[in-house]
């Protein structure tokens, strides 16, 4: 970065513009953090650490808290039944009050999943650094921000200093060119990317999603893609800001206004990767030929086209991958060669920081409207924030889901990780719009297939993993 004329990537520009002190003799660089999002699960020990050391929160005005991981999605007006969940949420409220941090609690219209709330308030914007004690913080990279998940010690570090010591990342371009076919969405792109580069392929990298298929995505779609960067092991994922970004942001409560907006916009337009900038690695995905993508295994890289069958571990060359596939099939109770579309599910979960925004709910609602839910299938719809829920209700989307037979819930992380009562029973199988299909993630012994909102909706109608295009044969 010493040569000012050297073409730079978006990630390199974000890094350079937040450099407080350059690391010497192998020490990491010190980066300034523009926005710190806090939730109840990864923060209590950080606040305790501050108290023990007699430290304050350096910038409460760059910090915001919301309750999401533990919160119930029914009966939110009643005390939380699970005492440990209640204790953790009370700890967050107490810490927020003591350290002067803004908090959006259960019942508040801005309460919801931390990665839905930041963008919704206009706090997430291009050119900034965002951190949160949650690996899906990569979501915010969709705005052209450097957004990273951190651990609790780092949460304490940012609370105390508003900075983070970091080693520079390598850069990887994920080029997605072409036009998605009907029924194929952002979720399918990212599942295909992870299947291609594997769960460790992004380690040490900041990913930049580029190409015509990315440019034509809405902000919601870009957030879905950046959200799952961590599932490829990446430290961050990002998309350069453009007119779609600015249109989404303008007028939101905390978006810059007046002269500030003009100044910001002028700067944001300098952020996209320069012509001639070199990435450390490049990946190419053809959007034209992508199918809806679903997972068959127990990590997000174990995915295939919905038109394919469960793979045979014997065909996998790498011994570790093969052993993992064998174990995954056993856990998932699947046989190699079974067409994915023949897999029957018990539950459909529409929600999580990956796919719980208004656009996701609209897309699924359009499919289930006037349709009948498959017998014996349970569908749960959990909006990403209270505000998304209210907007959906204004649009009549709640009624479409209720008429279909789905449960319409209050906002939170819910069944994505089952910290609240929203869990699958042992052996239950779900089509889930969330981000992780790990063993036991959605409940002990539960089996998860990651899908897009469109596939979730079609699956709820047919009872087996399905694409919207399969519905025509039903009618």
């Amino acid at each position: 970065m010493s040569n000012p004329s050297k073409p730079l990537t978006l990630a390199e520009k974000l890094w350079a513009s937040h450099l407080v002190a350059e690391g010497k003799d192998g020490a990491p660089d010190l980066l300034y953090i523009d926005l710190h999002l806090v939730h109840e699960v990864t923060s209590p020990q950080a606040f305790d650490g501050l108290r023990m050391a007699g430290r304050k929160v350096r910038r409460p005005d760059l910090t915001i808290a919301t309750e999401d991981h533990n919160t119930p999605t029914i009966d939110i007006d009643k005390p939380i039944a699970d005492t440990t969940s209640r204790t953790q949420i009370e700890a967050l409220r107490k810490n927020a009050a003591e350290f002067g941090i803004r908090i959006h609690s259960l019942g508040d219209k801005n309460q919801g999943i931390v990665h839905v709330v930041g963008p919704q308030l206009g706090l997430t914007m291009p050119g900034i650094t965002v951190v949160c004690g949650d690996s899906h913080t990569s979501t915010h990279g969709a705005f052209g921000a450097l957004a990273m998940g951190i651990g609790t010690s780092e949460v304490e570090h940012v609370l105390a200093t508003q900075t983070l010591p970091l080693k520079p990342f390598k850069t990887m371009a994920i080029n997605v060119e072409g036009t998605l076919r009907p029924g194929v969405t952002a979720k399918d792109i990212i599942l295909a990317v992870i299947a291609k580069i594997s769960t460790g392929g992004g380690q040490g990298y900041a990913l930049e999603y580029r190409g015509s298929a990315i440019r034509s995505l809405s902000m919601e779609g870009r957030m879905t893609i950046c959200n799952m960067s961590i599932e490829a092991g990446a430290r961050a994922g990002m998309v350069a800001p453009d007119e779609i970004t600015y249109a989404y942001l303008k007028g939101r409560p905390h978006a810059p206004e007046g002269a500030d907006w003009d100044k910001a916009l002028e700067y944001w337009k300098t952020l996209p990767t320069d012509e001639g900038a070199v990435f450390d690695a490049e990946v190419f995905i053809d959007a034209n030929t992508l199918d809806p993508f679903v997972t068959w295994g127990t990590n997000p890289g174990q995915g295939v086209s919905l038109m394919d069958s469960v793979p045979n571990p014997a065909d996998i060359e790498d011994p570790n991958e093969r052993a993992a596939a064998e174990r995954a099939l056993e856990y998932m109770d699947l046989k190699a060669g079974t067409p994915m579309k023949e897999i029957a599910v018990n539950t459909v979960f529409l929600g999580s920081c990956t796919n719980s925004r208004i656009e996701d709910l609209r897309a699924a609602a359009a499919i289930v409207k006037g349709q009948k839910k498959a017998d014996g299938v349970r569908m749960m719809v959990v909006p990403g924030s209270q505000k998304v829920r209210l907007q959906a209700e204004e649009e009549g989307i709640d009624k479409i889901f209720k008429d279909f037979g789905a449960e319409w819930r209050f906002a939170g992380c819910s069944m994505c990780l089952g910290m609240n009562p929203d869990q699958l029973a042992p052996g239950e199988r779900a089509a889930s719009t969330s981000n992780r299909n790990f063993e036991g993630r959605q409940g002990k012994g539960a089996r998860t297939h990651l899908v897009s909102p469109l596939v979730a909706a079609a699956t709820a109608i047919r009872g087996t993993l399905s694409a919207p295009s399969d519905l025509e044969s039903v009618n």
Binding site: G26, L62, G127, I128, R235, R436
Partner: protein
């Protein structure tokens, strides 16, 4: 943080790849607000399987974990490191670590040493032949020794230095406090501020 130099303890083979942090500690155990006492939560689901390695008495007091590649993927939960530490582990060796897990480990004085996949398999074979064998971890020399086998491991030099000195990150950063204040004085007015709250 305690200074780390050299220690020995029972080596435990974890013959799985892609061990994600949901496996190291399931989400239901994350509701606690303390930073210790997570030993019961370590590999909680796998511990229900009778033949799981930590259920074998010879490995129950293990201190050095030898795991397959892509260890610590997924969730950023630092509780994964706390659970390993509370169980008694002091180090984990693998061919590949997830970035956030490795970062969290460094903050807790927990060693993540990188070895090759071939070395991992050789160590597993050795432990199979001599269950209960002790491993000696020598941080200054970056070596892992089991019996006659001595392997060099990789660790980021800065993390190594911090672990050997027992230094706390916040204290180190606060030496740069003037630089932080100076950076803040030039922060543009368009950048986000959560207070005063808008949109409520």
């Amino acid at each position: 943080m305690e200074k780390i130099e050299k220690f020995s303890g029972v080596a435990v083979p974890l013959k799985r790849s892609n061990v994600d942090t949901d496996q190291i500690i399931p989400a239901v155990y994350l509701k606690r607000i303390t930073k210790t006492g997570f030993e019961d939560a370590l590999f909680a689901s796998w511990k229900a399987e009778p033949d799981f390695v930590l259920n074998q008495p010879v490995f129950a007091n293990g201190e050095v974990l030898i795991a397959g590649p892509d260890f610590g993927t997924g969730s950023s939960r630092e509780h994964a490191v706390w659970a390993l530490r509370d169980w008694g582990f002091k180090a984990v060796f693998s061919a590949k670590f997830a970035d956030i897990f490795r970062g969290n480990s460094g903050k807790q004085g927990f060693i993540t040493g990188v070895i090759t996949e071939d070395e991992t398999k050789a160590l597993w074979d050795l432990i199979d032949a001599q269950p209960g064998i002790e491993a000696t971890v020598d941080l200054p020399n970056q070596t892992l020794s089991l019996g006659e086998m001595k392997i060099s491991f990789e660790i980021d030099p800065y993390t190594k230095w911090r672990l050997m000195e027992g230094l706390d990150d916040i204290g180190l950063t606060l030496r740069d406090e003037p630089a932080i204040t100076s950076f803040e004085s030039n922060r543009e007015s368009w950048r986000p501020q959560t207070l005063p709250a808008k949109g409520i």
